[in-house]
Protein backbone atom coordinates (compact mmCIF):
# COMPACT_ATOMS: atom_id res chain seq x y z
CA UNK A 1 0.00 0.00 0.00
CA UNK A 2 2.88 2.35 0.75
CA UNK A 3 4.12 1.91 -2.80
CA UNK A 4 0.77 2.99 -4.19
CA UNK A 5 0.69 6.04 -1.93
CA UNK A 6 4.28 6.90 -2.77
CA UNK A 7 3.56 6.59 -6.49
CA UNK A 8 0.63 8.98 -6.10
CA UNK A 9 2.86 11.48 -4.31
CA UNK A 10 5.58 11.15 -6.92
CA UNK A 11 3.06 12.04 -9.62
CA UNK A 12 2.85 15.53 -8.09
CA UNK A 13 6.57 16.24 -8.42
CA UNK A 14 7.15 19.41 -10.45
CA UNK A 15 3.39 19.87 -10.75
CA UNK A 16 1.52 23.05 -9.86
CA UNK A 17 0.14 21.33 -6.78
CA UNK A 18 2.62 22.95 -4.47
CA UNK A 19 1.65 26.37 -5.69
CA UNK A 20 -1.91 25.52 -4.76
CA UNK A 21 -0.75 24.56 -1.29
CA UNK A 22 1.09 27.85 -1.00
CA UNK A 23 -1.86 29.84 -2.28
CA UNK A 24 -3.99 28.07 0.29
CA UNK A 25 -1.54 28.77 3.10
CA UNK A 26 -0.27 32.26 2.33
CA UNK A 27 -3.30 34.46 3.12
CA UNK A 28 -3.52 33.09 6.65
CA UNK A 29 0.09 34.03 7.27
CA UNK A 30 -0.43 37.50 5.86
CA UNK A 31 -3.39 38.07 8.14
CA UNK A 32 -1.33 36.78 11.06
CA UNK A 33 1.36 39.33 10.26
CA UNK A 34 -1.28 42.00 10.20
CA UNK A 35 -2.89 40.91 13.45
CA UNK A 36 0.51 40.95 15.12
CA UNK A 37 1.22 44.58 14.30
CA UNK A 38 1.79 46.49 17.56
CA UNK A 39 -1.49 47.85 18.75
CA UNK A 40 -2.17 50.77 20.94
CA UNK A 41 -5.30 51.12 23.02
CA UNK A 42 -7.34 54.33 23.41
CA UNK A 43 -5.34 55.52 26.40
CA UNK A 44 -2.01 55.10 24.64
CA UNK A 45 -0.92 51.87 26.35
CA UNK A 46 0.42 49.02 24.22
CA UNK A 47 -1.82 46.02 23.93
CA UNK A 48 -0.32 42.54 23.92
CA UNK A 49 -0.96 39.88 21.27
CA UNK A 50 -4.19 37.97 21.79
CA UNK A 51 -3.42 34.42 20.68
CA UNK A 52 -7.07 33.39 20.51
CA UNK A 53 -7.64 36.21 18.07
CA UNK A 54 -4.53 35.29 16.04
CA UNK A 55 -5.75 31.72 15.60
CA UNK A 56 -9.28 32.85 14.86
CA UNK A 57 -8.05 35.04 12.01
CA UNK A 58 -5.68 32.36 10.72
CA UNK A 59 -8.47 29.79 10.76
CA UNK A 60 -10.84 32.18 8.98
CA UNK A 61 -8.42 32.58 6.11
CA UNK A 62 -7.71 28.87 5.93
CA UNK A 63 -11.34 27.83 5.73
CA UNK A 64 -12.01 30.62 3.26
CA UNK A 65 -9.30 29.36 0.89
CA UNK A 66 -10.01 25.70 1.59
CA UNK A 67 -13.14 24.96 -0.47
CA UNK A 68 -11.65 26.09 -3.76
CA UNK A 69 -8.08 24.93 -3.17
CA UNK A 70 -8.91 21.50 -1.81
CA UNK A 71 -11.55 20.93 -4.47
CA UNK A 72 -9.12 21.71 -7.25
CA UNK A 73 -6.41 19.56 -5.67
CA UNK A 74 -8.71 16.56 -5.36
CA UNK A 75 -10.25 16.97 -8.79
CA UNK A 76 -6.85 17.38 -10.42
CA UNK A 77 -5.51 14.18 -8.89
CA UNK A 78 -8.39 12.22 -10.36
CA UNK A 79 -8.98 14.09 -13.60
CA UNK A 80 -5.39 14.19 -14.75
CA UNK A 81 -5.33 10.43 -15.29
CA UNK A 82 -7.90 10.97 -18.04
CA UNK A 83 -6.40 14.18 -19.37
CA UNK A 84 -2.90 12.77 -19.62
CA UNK A 85 -4.35 9.47 -20.82
CA UNK A 86 -2.65 7.44 -18.14
CA UNK A 87 -5.87 5.86 -16.90
CA UNK A 88 -5.49 2.77 -19.13
CA UNK A 89 -2.11 2.13 -17.61
CA UNK A 90 -3.22 2.91 -14.07
CA UNK A 91 -6.02 0.38 -14.24
CA UNK A 92 -3.78 -2.29 -15.77
CA UNK A 93 -1.79 -2.79 -12.59
CA UNK A 94 -2.24 -5.81 -10.40
CA UNK A 95 -3.73 -3.46 -7.82
CA UNK A 96 -7.39 -3.15 -7.02
CA UNK A 97 -9.02 0.09 -8.03
CA UNK A 98 -10.23 0.52 -4.47
CA UNK A 99 -6.65 0.74 -3.27
CA UNK A 100 -5.82 3.25 -5.98
CA UNK A 101 -8.81 5.33 -4.88
CA UNK A 102 -7.70 5.06 -1.27
CA UNK A 103 -4.16 6.14 -2.12
CA UNK A 104 -5.40 9.14 -4.08
CA UNK A 105 -7.71 10.25 -1.28
CA UNK A 106 -4.87 9.83 1.21
CA UNK A 107 -2.69 12.11 -0.86
CA UNK A 108 -5.45 14.74 -0.83
CA UNK A 109 -5.67 14.37 2.93
CA UNK A 110 -1.91 14.85 3.20
CA UNK A 111 -2.10 17.96 1.01
CA UNK A 112 -4.84 19.43 3.20
CA UNK A 113 -2.76 18.71 6.29
CA UNK A 114 0.31 20.36 4.79
CA UNK A 115 -1.75 23.38 3.73
CA UNK A 116 -3.15 23.76 7.24
CA UNK A 117 0.28 23.30 8.80
CA UNK A 118 1.84 25.92 6.55
CA UNK A 119 -1.10 28.21 7.04
CA UNK A 120 -0.65 28.13 10.80
CA UNK A 121 3.15 28.24 10.84
CA UNK A 122 3.44 31.95 11.60
CA UNK A 123 0.63 31.90 14.14
CA UNK A 124 2.29 28.98 15.92
CA UNK A 125 5.64 30.76 15.81
CA UNK A 126 4.09 33.79 17.44
CA UNK A 127 2.43 31.51 19.95
CA UNK A 128 5.72 29.91 20.93
CA UNK A 129 7.33 33.32 21.38
CA UNK A 130 4.42 34.47 23.54
CA UNK A 131 4.67 31.25 25.50
CA UNK A 132 8.34 31.88 26.20
CA UNK A 133 7.64 35.49 27.15
CA UNK A 134 4.90 34.10 29.38
CA UNK A 135 2.30 36.29 27.68
CA UNK A 136 0.25 33.27 26.64
CA UNK A 137 -0.73 29.96 28.10
CA UNK A 138 -0.07 26.56 26.59
CA UNK A 139 -3.78 25.95 26.77
CA UNK A 140 -4.47 28.70 24.22
CA UNK A 141 -1.82 27.38 21.84
CA UNK A 142 -3.34 23.91 22.12
CA UNK A 143 -6.75 25.33 21.24
CA UNK A 144 -5.22 26.77 18.07
CA UNK A 145 -3.58 23.48 17.14
CA UNK A 146 -6.76 21.61 17.82
CA UNK A 147 -8.71 24.03 15.67
CA UNK A 148 -6.36 23.37 12.76
CA UNK A 149 -6.59 19.60 13.23
CA UNK A 150 -10.38 19.86 13.21
CA UNK A 151 -10.27 21.98 10.05
CA UNK A 152 -8.15 19.32 8.34
CA UNK A 153 -10.57 16.52 9.19
CA UNK A 154 -13.71 18.51 8.38
CA UNK A 155 -12.28 19.82 5.10
CA UNK A 156 -11.69 16.24 4.05
CA UNK A 157 -15.43 15.62 4.32
CA UNK A 158 -16.18 17.22 0.97
CA UNK A 159 -13.13 15.81 -0.83
CA UNK A 160 -14.96 12.79 -2.29
CA UNK A 161 -17.42 15.24 -3.87
CA UNK A 162 -14.54 16.93 -5.67
CA UNK A 163 -13.07 13.54 -6.54
CA UNK A 164 -16.39 12.44 -8.00
CA UNK A 165 -16.58 15.53 -10.20
CA UNK A 166 -12.96 15.01 -11.22
CA UNK A 167 -13.43 11.40 -12.29
CA UNK A 168 -16.85 11.78 -13.86
CA UNK A 169 -16.02 15.07 -15.59
CA UNK A 170 -12.52 13.84 -16.53
CA UNK A 171 -11.44 17.43 -16.12
CA UNK A 172 -10.81 19.89 -13.31
CA UNK A 173 -13.31 22.36 -14.69
CA UNK A 174 -16.61 20.98 -13.35
CA UNK A 175 -15.02 20.60 -9.93
CA UNK A 176 -13.58 24.10 -10.13
CA UNK A 177 -17.09 25.44 -10.76
CA UNK A 178 -18.35 23.56 -7.71
CA UNK A 179 -15.36 24.87 -5.75
CA UNK A 180 -16.01 28.49 -6.67
CA UNK A 181 -19.66 28.14 -5.82
CA UNK A 182 -18.71 26.67 -2.46
CA UNK A 183 -16.23 29.47 -1.90
CA UNK A 184 -18.81 32.17 -2.56
CA UNK A 185 -21.24 30.57 -0.12
CA UNK A 186 -18.41 30.11 2.36
CA UNK A 187 -17.27 33.71 2.23
CA UNK A 188 -20.82 35.00 2.62
CA UNK A 189 -21.35 32.56 5.47
CA UNK A 190 -18.19 33.53 7.27
CA UNK A 191 -18.87 37.21 6.96
CA UNK A 192 -22.30 36.65 8.44
CA UNK A 193 -20.81 34.60 11.32
CA UNK A 194 -24.17 32.87 11.61
CA UNK A 195 -24.32 29.72 13.67
CA UNK A 196 -26.29 27.83 11.02
CA UNK A 197 -23.68 28.51 8.36
CA UNK A 198 -21.78 25.40 9.41
CA UNK A 199 -24.65 23.29 8.06
CA UNK A 200 -23.28 23.93 4.58
CA UNK A 201 -20.83 21.03 4.11
CA UNK A 202 -18.02 23.23 2.81
CA UNK A 203 -18.49 25.49 5.83
CA UNK A 204 -18.56 22.83 8.50
CA UNK A 205 -14.83 23.43 8.91
CA UNK A 206 -15.71 26.96 9.96
CA UNK A 207 -17.23 25.47 13.13
CA UNK A 208 -14.02 24.99 15.11
CA UNK A 209 -12.75 28.36 13.90
CA UNK A 210 -15.89 30.09 15.09
CA UNK A 211 -15.34 28.62 18.53
CA UNK A 212 -12.15 30.66 18.80
CA UNK A 213 -14.01 33.92 18.27
CA UNK A 214 -14.82 36.03 21.27
CA UNK A 215 -16.37 39.21 20.03
CA UNK A 216 -19.07 37.86 17.68
CA UNK A 217 -22.61 37.21 18.80
CA UNK A 218 -23.34 33.77 20.24
CA UNK A 219 -19.70 32.72 20.30
CA UNK A 220 -18.66 29.50 21.96
CA UNK A 221 -20.42 26.20 21.56
CA UNK A 222 -22.83 25.90 18.68
CA UNK A 223 -26.13 23.97 18.87
CA UNK A 224 -25.98 23.22 15.14
CA UNK A 225 -22.81 21.17 15.49
CA UNK A 226 -24.40 17.70 15.68
CA UNK A 227 -26.61 18.39 12.67
CA UNK A 228 -23.67 19.84 10.74
CA UNK A 229 -21.58 16.78 11.57
CA UNK A 230 -24.39 14.52 10.39
CA UNK A 231 -24.84 16.38 7.11
CA UNK A 232 -21.11 16.32 6.42
CA UNK A 233 -20.92 12.61 7.22
CA UNK A 234 -23.77 11.85 4.85
CA UNK A 235 -22.20 13.96 2.10
CA UNK A 236 -18.89 12.18 2.68
CA UNK A 237 -20.35 8.70 2.62
CA UNK A 238 -22.64 9.26 -0.34
CA UNK A 239 -19.95 10.85 -2.49
CA UNK A 240 -17.40 8.24 -1.43
CA UNK A 241 -19.82 5.48 -2.41
CA UNK A 242 -20.30 7.14 -5.76
CA UNK A 243 -16.52 7.32 -6.25
CA UNK A 244 -16.12 3.66 -5.36
CA UNK A 245 -18.87 2.64 -7.71
CA UNK A 246 -17.63 4.82 -10.51
CA UNK A 247 -13.99 3.83 -10.15
CA UNK A 248 -14.61 0.14 -9.84
CA UNK A 249 -17.51 -0.37 -12.21
CA UNK A 250 -17.24 2.04 -15.07
CA UNK A 251 -15.77 1.18 -18.44
CA UNK A 252 -12.62 3.13 -19.14
CA UNK A 253 -12.12 4.95 -22.40
CA UNK A 254 -9.08 7.09 -22.00
CA UNK A 255 -9.16 10.75 -22.79
CA UNK A 256 -12.51 10.63 -24.53
Amino acid sequence: MFNVFYAELLKLKHSRMFWLVLVGALPANLITLFVMMPKVSMDGARVGVDMMYVFYRQGMMLVMMGPSMFTIMAAYIFAREYQERTINQLFSYPISRIRILAAKLSVVFALIAVTAALSSILALGVGVVQLIKQNAEWNTIWLGIRMNLMVIVLSFGTVPVAAAFGMAGKSVIPAAVVGSFATIVTVIGEIGHGRQSILFPWLTSYGPVRRMAQEIAQAGSNPYEPTAALILTVVFLVSLTYCLFHYVRTDVHSGS
Binding site: N3, V4, L10, K11, E84, T86, S92, Y93, I95, D251
Partner: protein
Protein backbone atom coordinates in the same frame (compact mmCIF):
# COMPACT_ATOMS: atom_id res chain seq x y z
CA UNK B 1 0.17 -26.55 -26.77
CA UNK B 2 0.31 -23.98 -24.01
CA UNK B 3 -1.80 -20.89 -24.40
CA UNK B 4 -0.81 -17.56 -22.98
CA UNK B 5 -4.17 -16.01 -23.64
CA UNK B 6 -7.48 -17.24 -24.94
CA UNK B 7 -10.79 -15.52 -25.23
CA UNK B 8 -14.03 -17.43 -25.35
CA UNK B 9 -17.04 -15.90 -27.08
CA UNK B 10 -15.83 -12.46 -26.09
CA UNK B 11 -18.52 -9.93 -26.89
CA UNK B 12 -19.01 -6.22 -26.32
CA UNK B 13 -22.23 -4.47 -27.16
CA UNK B 14 -23.03 -0.80 -26.85
CA UNK B 15 -26.77 -0.66 -26.94
CA UNK B 16 -27.85 -2.77 -29.88
CA UNK B 17 -24.56 -2.44 -31.69
CA UNK B 18 -22.10 -5.30 -31.31
CA UNK B 19 -18.61 -3.83 -31.44
CA UNK B 20 -16.92 -7.16 -30.75
CA UNK B 21 -18.80 -10.34 -31.40
CA UNK B 22 -18.19 -13.88 -30.23
CA UNK B 23 -14.46 -13.54 -30.51
CA UNK B 24 -12.29 -16.59 -29.88
CA UNK B 25 -8.68 -15.62 -29.85
CA UNK B 26 -5.94 -18.14 -29.17
CA UNK B 27 -2.46 -16.87 -28.44
CA UNK B 28 0.17 -19.53 -27.90
CA UNK B 29 3.38 -19.13 -25.95
CA UNK B 30 6.03 -17.69 -28.21
CA UNK B 31 3.62 -16.32 -30.80
CA UNK B 32 4.03 -12.92 -32.30
CA UNK B 33 0.35 -12.52 -32.85
CA UNK B 34 -0.58 -9.88 -35.37
CA UNK B 35 -4.07 -8.63 -34.56
CA UNK B 36 -5.10 -7.19 -37.84
CA UNK B 37 -8.12 -5.09 -38.70
CA UNK B 38 -9.20 -1.87 -40.29
CA UNK B 39 -9.94 1.30 -38.38
CA UNK B 40 -12.95 0.70 -36.21
CA UNK B 41 -12.79 -3.08 -36.56
CA UNK B 42 -12.78 -3.52 -32.79
CA UNK B 43 -9.11 -4.11 -32.02
CA UNK B 44 -8.79 -1.60 -29.21
CA UNK B 45 -12.14 -2.64 -27.75
CA UNK B 46 -10.95 -6.25 -27.64
CA UNK B 47 -7.65 -5.33 -26.01
CA UNK B 48 -9.45 -3.12 -23.49
CA UNK B 49 -11.60 -6.05 -22.47
CA UNK B 50 -8.53 -8.24 -22.18
CA UNK B 51 -6.86 -5.71 -19.90
CA UNK B 52 -9.99 -5.34 -17.77
CA UNK B 53 -10.56 -1.72 -18.73
CA UNK B 54 -14.04 -2.38 -20.00
CA UNK B 55 -16.45 -5.07 -19.04
CA UNK B 56 -17.31 -7.67 -21.66
CA UNK B 57 -21.02 -8.00 -22.38
CA UNK B 58 -20.39 -11.73 -22.61
CA UNK B 59 -17.57 -14.19 -22.85
CA UNK B 60 -14.48 -15.10 -20.94
CA UNK B 61 -10.78 -14.47 -20.88
CA UNK B 62 -8.39 -17.20 -19.93
CA UNK B 63 -4.89 -16.21 -18.82
CA UNK B 64 -1.88 -18.47 -19.00
CA UNK B 65 -4.12 -21.47 -19.23
CA UNK B 66 -5.46 -20.89 -15.75
CA UNK B 67 -9.20 -20.65 -15.82
CA UNK B 68 -10.80 -17.26 -15.50
CA UNK B 69 -11.50 -14.32 -13.22
CA UNK B 70 -9.82 -14.08 -9.81
CA UNK B 71 -6.51 -14.83 -11.43
CA UNK B 72 -6.53 -11.59 -13.33
CA UNK B 73 -4.55 -9.56 -10.84
CA UNK B 74 -1.85 -12.21 -10.77
CA UNK B 75 -1.85 -12.47 -14.53
CA UNK B 76 -1.31 -8.71 -14.83
CA UNK B 77 2.07 -9.09 -13.15
CA UNK B 78 3.12 -11.14 -16.14
CA UNK B 79 1.77 -8.78 -18.80
CA UNK B 80 3.01 -5.51 -20.21
CA UNK B 81 0.62 -3.42 -22.26
CA UNK B 82 0.12 -0.26 -24.21
CA UNK B 83 -3.55 0.25 -24.94
CA UNK B 84 -4.43 2.90 -27.50
CA UNK B 85 -1.92 5.54 -26.46
CA UNK B 86 1.24 5.61 -24.37
CA UNK B 87 0.11 7.98 -21.63
CA UNK B 88 2.58 9.47 -19.18
CA UNK B 89 2.68 12.04 -16.40
CA UNK B 90 3.89 14.97 -18.43
CA UNK B 91 5.36 16.92 -15.53
CA UNK B 92 7.73 14.06 -14.76
CA UNK B 93 10.88 12.80 -16.40
CA UNK B 94 11.02 9.45 -18.16
CA UNK B 95 12.91 8.03 -15.19
CA UNK B 96 10.25 9.22 -12.71
CA UNK B 97 7.46 7.80 -14.84
CA UNK B 98 9.20 4.45 -14.85
CA UNK B 99 9.81 4.75 -11.12
CA UNK B 100 6.05 5.05 -10.61
CA UNK B 101 5.58 1.94 -12.69
CA UNK B 102 8.25 0.11 -10.71
CA UNK B 103 6.52 1.00 -7.46
CA UNK B 104 3.08 0.00 -8.67
CA UNK B 105 4.44 -3.28 -9.95
CA UNK B 106 6.11 -3.78 -6.60
CA UNK B 107 9.48 -4.51 -8.15
CA UNK B 108 12.75 -4.48 -6.32
CA UNK B 109 15.64 -3.29 -8.42
CA UNK B 110 15.98 0.27 -9.58
CA UNK B 111 18.68 -0.51 -12.14
CA UNK B 112 16.03 -2.09 -14.36
CA UNK B 113 14.93 1.44 -15.29
CA UNK B 114 18.25 2.28 -16.93
CA UNK B 115 18.30 -1.13 -18.59
CA UNK B 116 14.96 -0.69 -20.36
CA UNK B 117 15.72 2.90 -21.29
CA UNK B 118 18.91 1.67 -22.92
CA UNK B 119 17.00 -1.11 -24.66
CA UNK B 120 14.66 1.37 -26.36
CA UNK B 121 17.38 3.96 -26.96
CA UNK B 122 16.10 6.63 -24.60
CA UNK B 123 18.80 6.57 -21.97
CA UNK B 124 20.03 9.95 -23.16
CA UNK B 125 16.62 11.52 -22.56
CA UNK B 126 16.17 9.89 -19.17
CA UNK B 127 15.98 13.13 -17.18
CA UNK B 128 13.96 15.00 -19.79
CA UNK B 129 10.35 15.73 -18.95
CA UNK B 130 7.94 13.61 -20.96
CA UNK B 131 6.12 16.84 -21.86
CA UNK B 132 8.92 17.51 -24.34
CA UNK B 133 8.85 14.03 -25.85
CA UNK B 134 7.71 13.45 -29.43
CA UNK B 135 5.03 10.83 -30.08
CA UNK B 136 7.69 8.48 -31.35
CA UNK B 137 9.68 8.89 -28.14
CA UNK B 138 6.54 8.28 -26.10
CA UNK B 139 5.94 5.07 -28.02
CA UNK B 140 9.43 3.92 -27.15
CA UNK B 141 9.01 4.93 -23.55
CA UNK B 142 5.72 3.03 -23.51
CA UNK B 143 7.55 -0.06 -24.71
CA UNK B 144 10.19 0.51 -22.04
CA UNK B 145 7.49 0.72 -19.39
CA UNK B 146 5.78 -2.38 -20.68
CA UNK B 147 9.11 -4.22 -20.51
CA UNK B 148 10.25 -3.01 -17.11
CA UNK B 149 8.73 -5.79 -15.03
CA UNK B 150 9.96 -8.59 -17.30
CA UNK B 151 6.58 -9.61 -18.70
CA UNK B 152 5.95 -12.89 -20.47
CA UNK B 153 3.35 -11.28 -22.71
CA UNK B 154 3.38 -7.86 -24.33
CA UNK B 155 0.09 -6.45 -25.58
CA UNK B 156 0.74 -3.52 -27.87
CA UNK B 157 -2.01 -1.55 -29.54
CA UNK B 158 -0.59 -0.04 -32.72
CA UNK B 159 2.86 0.42 -31.23
CA UNK B 160 4.40 1.95 -34.33
CA UNK B 161 1.90 4.78 -34.47
CA UNK B 162 3.83 8.00 -34.87
CA UNK B 163 7.14 6.38 -35.71
CA UNK B 164 9.03 7.20 -38.89
CA UNK B 165 10.02 4.36 -41.25
CA UNK B 166 13.45 4.12 -39.65
CA UNK B 167 11.88 3.96 -36.21
CA UNK B 168 9.39 1.30 -37.32
CA UNK B 169 12.22 -0.85 -38.58
CA UNK B 170 14.16 -0.38 -35.39
CA UNK B 171 11.20 -1.30 -33.21
CA UNK B 172 10.52 -4.34 -35.33
CA UNK B 173 14.11 -5.48 -34.78
CA UNK B 174 13.65 -4.92 -31.07
CA UNK B 175 10.48 -7.02 -30.96
CA UNK B 176 12.12 -9.82 -32.89
CA UNK B 177 15.09 -9.72 -30.54
CA UNK B 178 12.88 -9.78 -27.44
CA UNK B 179 10.88 -12.67 -28.83
CA UNK B 180 14.01 -14.62 -29.62
CA UNK B 181 16.19 -13.85 -26.63
CA UNK B 182 13.62 -13.65 -23.88
CA UNK B 183 10.88 -15.76 -25.37
CA UNK B 184 8.33 -12.99 -24.91
CA UNK B 185 4.95 -13.55 -26.52
CA UNK B 186 3.48 -10.57 -28.38
CA UNK B 187 0.06 -9.42 -29.36
CA UNK B 188 0.49 -6.52 -31.75
CA UNK B 189 -2.54 -4.84 -33.23
CA UNK B 190 -2.32 -2.99 -36.47
CA UNK B 191 -4.43 -1.74 -39.32
CA UNK B 192 -1.47 -2.09 -41.64
CA UNK B 193 -0.68 -5.49 -43.00
CA UNK B 194 2.75 -4.35 -44.07
CA UNK B 195 3.59 -3.50 -40.51
CA UNK B 196 3.23 -7.00 -39.13
CA UNK B 197 4.18 -8.74 -42.36
CA UNK B 198 7.81 -9.10 -41.39
CA UNK B 199 7.08 -9.72 -37.75
CA UNK B 200 4.07 -11.88 -37.03
CA UNK B 201 4.20 -15.64 -36.70
CA UNK B 202 0.46 -15.81 -36.40
CA UNK B 203 -2.29 -13.54 -37.61
CA UNK B 204 -5.82 -12.91 -36.38
CA UNK B 205 -7.97 -10.93 -38.74
CA UNK B 206 -10.81 -8.99 -37.17
CA UNK B 207 -13.47 -7.34 -39.25
CA UNK B 208 -16.55 -5.56 -37.95
CA UNK B 209 -16.01 -7.12 -34.55
CA UNK B 210 -15.66 -10.68 -35.75
CA UNK B 211 -12.50 -12.71 -35.90
CA UNK B 212 -12.58 -13.87 -39.52
CA UNK B 213 -9.52 -16.01 -39.42
CA UNK B 214 -6.72 -17.06 -37.16
CA UNK B 215 -3.86 -18.58 -39.03
CA UNK B 216 -0.12 -19.16 -38.93
CA UNK B 217 1.67 -16.56 -40.91
CA UNK B 218 3.23 -19.14 -43.15
CA UNK B 219 -0.09 -20.76 -43.93
CA UNK B 220 -1.47 -17.34 -44.69
CA UNK B 221 1.38 -16.74 -47.05
CA UNK B 222 0.80 -20.07 -48.75
CA UNK B 223 -2.89 -19.35 -49.06
CA UNK B 224 -2.27 -16.04 -50.58
CA UNK B 225 0.61 -17.03 -52.84
CA UNK B 226 0.47 -16.31 -56.50
CA UNK B 227 0.69 -19.11 -59.03
CA UNK B 228 0.21 -20.01 -62.66
CA UNK B 229 -3.04 -21.80 -63.14
CA UNK B 230 -2.52 -24.25 -65.98
CA UNK B 231 -5.46 -26.08 -67.53
CA UNK B 232 -4.39 -29.21 -69.41
CA UNK B 233 -5.90 -32.44 -70.68
CA UNK B 234 -3.59 -34.62 -68.59
CA UNK B 235 -2.31 -33.02 -65.40
CA UNK B 236 -0.13 -35.97 -64.39
CA UNK B 237 1.83 -36.04 -67.59
CA UNK B 238 2.01 -32.26 -67.57
CA UNK B 239 3.48 -32.34 -64.06
CA UNK B 240 6.07 -34.87 -65.18
CA UNK B 241 7.09 -32.70 -68.07
CA UNK B 242 7.31 -29.59 -65.89
CA UNK B 243 9.61 -31.45 -63.55
CA UNK B 244 11.79 -32.85 -66.28
CA UNK B 245 12.00 -29.89 -68.58
CA UNK B 246 11.66 -26.89 -66.29
CA UNK B 247 13.02 -28.36 -63.10
CA UNK B 248 9.77 -27.39 -61.36
CA UNK B 249 9.00 -28.82 -57.94
CA UNK B 250 6.68 -26.29 -56.34
CA UNK B 251 3.29 -27.12 -57.77
CA UNK B 252 0.07 -28.83 -56.78
CA UNK B 253 -2.63 -30.60 -58.70
CA UNK B 254 -5.57 -28.43 -57.83
CA UNK B 255 -8.19 -30.62 -59.48
CA UNK B 256 -8.79 -32.70 -62.57
CA UNK B 257 -6.90 -31.05 -65.38
CA UNK B 258 -5.69 -28.16 -63.26
CA UNK B 259 -2.17 -27.50 -62.02
CA UNK B 260 -1.04 -24.64 -59.78
CA UNK B 261 2.57 -23.80 -60.41
CA UNK B 262 4.19 -21.50 -57.89
CA UNK B 263 7.37 -21.05 -59.88
CA UNK B 264 8.24 -19.49 -63.22
CA UNK B 265 5.48 -16.95 -62.71
CA UNK B 266 6.94 -14.64 -65.33
CA UNK B 267 7.50 -17.40 -67.86
CA UNK B 268 3.95 -18.36 -68.81
CA UNK B 269 4.86 -18.41 -72.52
CA UNK B 270 7.79 -20.79 -71.96
CA UNK B 271 5.65 -23.08 -69.84
CA UNK B 272 3.01 -23.12 -72.51
CA UNK B 273 5.55 -23.84 -75.27
CA UNK B 274 7.29 -26.61 -73.32
CA UNK B 275 4.04 -28.39 -72.53
CA UNK B 276 2.78 -28.02 -76.10
CA UNK B 277 5.97 -29.36 -77.67
CA UNK B 278 5.70 -32.42 -75.43
CA UNK B 279 2.24 -33.21 -76.65
CA UNK B 280 0.14 -31.79 -73.82
CA UNK B 281 -3.05 -30.02 -74.79
CA UNK B 282 -2.95 -26.69 -72.97
CA UNK B 283 -6.41 -25.14 -72.68
CA UNK B 284 -5.41 -22.14 -70.68
CA UNK B 285 -2.71 -20.59 -68.61
CA UNK B 286 -3.05 -17.58 -66.37
CA UNK B 287 -1.45 -15.83 -63.43
CA UNK B 288 -3.65 -16.19 -60.43
CA UNK B 289 -3.83 -15.99 -56.65
CA UNK B 290 -3.55 -13.10 -54.28
CA UNK B 291 -0.87 -10.95 -52.99
CA UNK B 292 -1.11 -10.97 -49.21
CA UNK B 293 -2.45 -7.47 -49.30
CA UNK B 294 -5.18 -8.43 -51.79
CA UNK B 295 -6.05 -11.46 -49.77
CA UNK B 296 -6.50 -9.36 -46.70
CA UNK B 297 -8.58 -6.87 -48.65
CA UNK B 298 -10.78 -9.62 -49.97
CA UNK B 299 -11.34 -11.00 -46.49
CA UNK B 300 -12.36 -7.68 -45.12
CA UNK B 301 -14.88 -6.99 -47.82
CA UNK B 302 -12.70 -5.15 -50.27
CA UNK B 303 -12.58 -1.85 -48.40
CA UNK B 304 -9.18 -0.43 -49.09
CA UNK B 305 -6.80 -0.37 -46.19
CA UNK B 306 -4.89 2.77 -45.44
Amino acid sequence: MSYVLRTRHLTKRYGQKAIVQDLNMNVRAGDIYGFLGQNGAGKTTTLRMIMGLIRPTAGEIEWFGEGRAGERARAFERVGAIIEYPGFYLNLSAADNLEIHRRLMGMGNKEAIDDVLTTVGLIGAKRQKVKSYSLGMKQRLGIARALLHHPELLILDEPTNGLDPGGIKEIRQLFLRLAKQRGITFIISSHLLSEIEQLATRVGIIHQGKLLEEIDYEALQRKSRRYLEIKVDDERRAAYILEQQLNASDYVAAGPGVLHLYEHLDRAADVNYTLATHGIGVKGIALSGDKLEDYFLKMTGGDPLV
